[in-house]
Symmetry: C2
Subunit: 380 residues, 2 copies
């Protein structure tokens, strides 16, 4: 039986994507591949809702996309304000420090969205060149107000850098409307393509900043001044692109665009609402406050007496369902349930709720699986 991947990613890969992965490899400079590269860039612009010419997949997983943005945009000594409301903001702060930036973190309790007022204070205190925040915090399930934060960056003369690894194609990501200068995502979340590529997009202000660098960035592999010459009209060889993974990305994006992004967002929201209703019927709740909850990633607060590792192990071993552990300070206190991309259907929510109730009962905390399932399948 195929496992049901309801963790923080990867989600289950769509059959059409698996088929694409297995297409015969061709050369990275083959005219047919160059044509595919054009289509991939056009599709990425549609997903990001941007006109940015530089909208490409980085040859690495989501964290390589984060690194591409920071290593190209940050120069030593530059001030960057980083909002930290979970693991991934913290990761960006770690990296920015390695790159010699003057890092100011604005920390929020885990599970809370980024507080725009706290960010504005940090930007007011001392001019910053960059603001970094995570749109959809995969470690907590919190959604932040990207439009407001991007606006603050612009008002204060900072570039706006956004992590949208978990949100892309699961809820609106409006690069141009919001005025985000640079963003990165992943393939293994709401796109349901295996991990291995990181879609990024950079706007004119970000590219101008890069063109004015004093020295080359401390990375050759991720140096955008060269990478973009391979993806752009020059087609000059940089490194060998991960051909088959790009077949998979292309297939995954085609599925998303054929469905229509707005319908895809609706599908994620509906699955999330079904999960929320089911959990409430079981007497459980989600970590982030209402209004700041991601549809595709749900951090469920566990009663104190639940043995979390045993619960996850039983879900996987007995029911074939993978969910994610809490990270950092949330370890043991929450499980993270992803209802992403190909998986975002009420049927998977029902499957999860029934199995979850069985696992809770198995730990001597009897709940009525019927109640959760009934609530989930009833429209609000």
């Amino acid at each position: 039986m195929e496992k049901l991947l309801l963790g923080p990613g990867p989600s289950n890969t769509a059959p059409q994507v698996l088929e694409a992965l297995a297409r015969p490899t061709i050369g990275h400079l083959d005219p047919d591949f160059l044509e595919l590269m054009d289509r991939v860039q056009q599709s990425l612009r549609q997903l990001f809702r941007t006109k940015n010419p530089v909208s490409i997949p980085v040859s690495g997983t989501g964290s390589a996309g984060m690194e591409t943005l920071l290593v190209n945009l940050i120069e030593p000594g530059e001030r960057i304000v980083i909002a930290v409301n979970g693991v991934f903001g913290g990761r960006a702060a770690d990296l920015a420090q390695r790159l010699g930036a003057d890092v100011e973190t604005v920390t929020m309790p885990w599970g809370q969205p980024v507080d725009p007022e706290a960010v504005e204070q940090a930007l007011r205190k001392k001019p910053a060149r960059h603001l970094f925040f995570v749109h959809a915090e995969t470690s907590t399930g919190a959604l932040s107000d990207a439009a407001t934060l991007a606006n603050l960056a612009r008002e204060h003369g900072a570039l706006c850098l956004m992590d949208c690894v978990t949100s892309l194609t699961g809820l609106p990501v409006e690069i141009d409307d919001w005025g985000v200068d640079a963003a990165f995502s992943g393939t293994q979340k709401c796109l349901s393509v295996p991990p291995g590529l990181s879609p990024i997009t950079l706007g004119p202000r970000a590219l101008e900043k890069i063109s004015q660098r004093g020295a080359s960035p401390p990375s050759w592999y991720l140096d955008l001044s060269m990478v973009e010459k391979y993806w752009g009209p020059e087609r000059s060889y940089h490194h060998t692109a991960p051909i088959n993974m790009i077949y998979g990305l292309d297939a995954g994006m085609t599925l998303a665009l054929e469905e229509g992004l707005d319908r895809r967002f609706d599908r994620h929201r509906e699955a999330h609402q079904a999960l929320r209703r089911g959990l409430e019927a079981l007497g459980l709740s989600l970590l982030p406050p209402e209004g700041s909850r991601l549809p595709m990633l749900n951090a469920i607060e566990l009663p104190a007496e639940v043995d979390e590792p045993a619960l996850r192990q039983r879900l996987l071993g007995e029911h074939g369902i993978e969910v994610g552990a809490g990270l950092g300070e949330l370890r043991g206190k929450v499980i993270r349930v992803g209802i992403m991309g190909h998986n975002a259907h009420r049927q998977n929510v029902v499957t999860f709720l029934a199995a979850f109730a069985e696992c809770l009962s198995h730990q001597g905390r009897p709940v009525d699986p019927g109640a959760g399932v009934a609530a989930a399948i009833t429209s609000a």
Copy 2:
């Protein structure tokens, strides 16, 4: 018709590898995946002929493997001697400079192997912490004497860093016997797995150097102190591994180990000899001197009047055969023909020679295709 990839990589992917790529994605912390990770590391040790515990695939293409070695091993101000006899030594020098190293390049004419005497002079002149060289220069087809170079590094107290992107599983790579401290490879050459991963191996001296670093490397994604904790017994999450690509690597390595490395080397050598005989019959020769020629990558010197881009275009368009252009100073002067991995069979050599002769004739340089083919199929 499937294209025949006889360029510098990717080579054609074996059907078993394509099948593996299309297996359902599972989680990067799933017990079944952790088991696969163990097998992958064991297989890598066999390919590299090493006992090094840290033998893992980096989540990026070959250049990401180069970057992983340099970014972790080099600290600012450290002296590194880099042998440059083609594009890839030059790439390492570029990267080392970005990392603040004191770089001394030892340059050889393109097509020549690395000259151990010149390297020794550079190591004598002033103590260096590192020596970097390319075992198999993909840009020229030259093979260097890795055992001698590794020995020189050791004698002079330098770490030995080796690029074996193109040689691994196509000719002997003896990490432990030679005393190479750190090496990286790629998947899309003699392994016939699509591009996207870079196998690396690091020995005790390299790991000790990393453990004594003053500051963290300027990369988070490639920071080995963290990456190895995911691949090692700790299994602590770092970044999401490229699951399906690792399925493919596993399948490709299984094929290589089932065949037996020595038999695989023989197969490459025999295909190369067939090609060499065929080219000689056409009055053509290979760029590197005899004794320093790679079996898997052949830089064929073209007569001055040949229009090289038109020749490659006709090979691909009319015959479905991809070969590589010359890079840098070799542009227009050579074509690079890879007979790698899954493709290293005399049958492909014959297919190439017949088509190549037709393309030369088409450019008004009539050659007898029969002569080349006859020479190729005749055992020496």
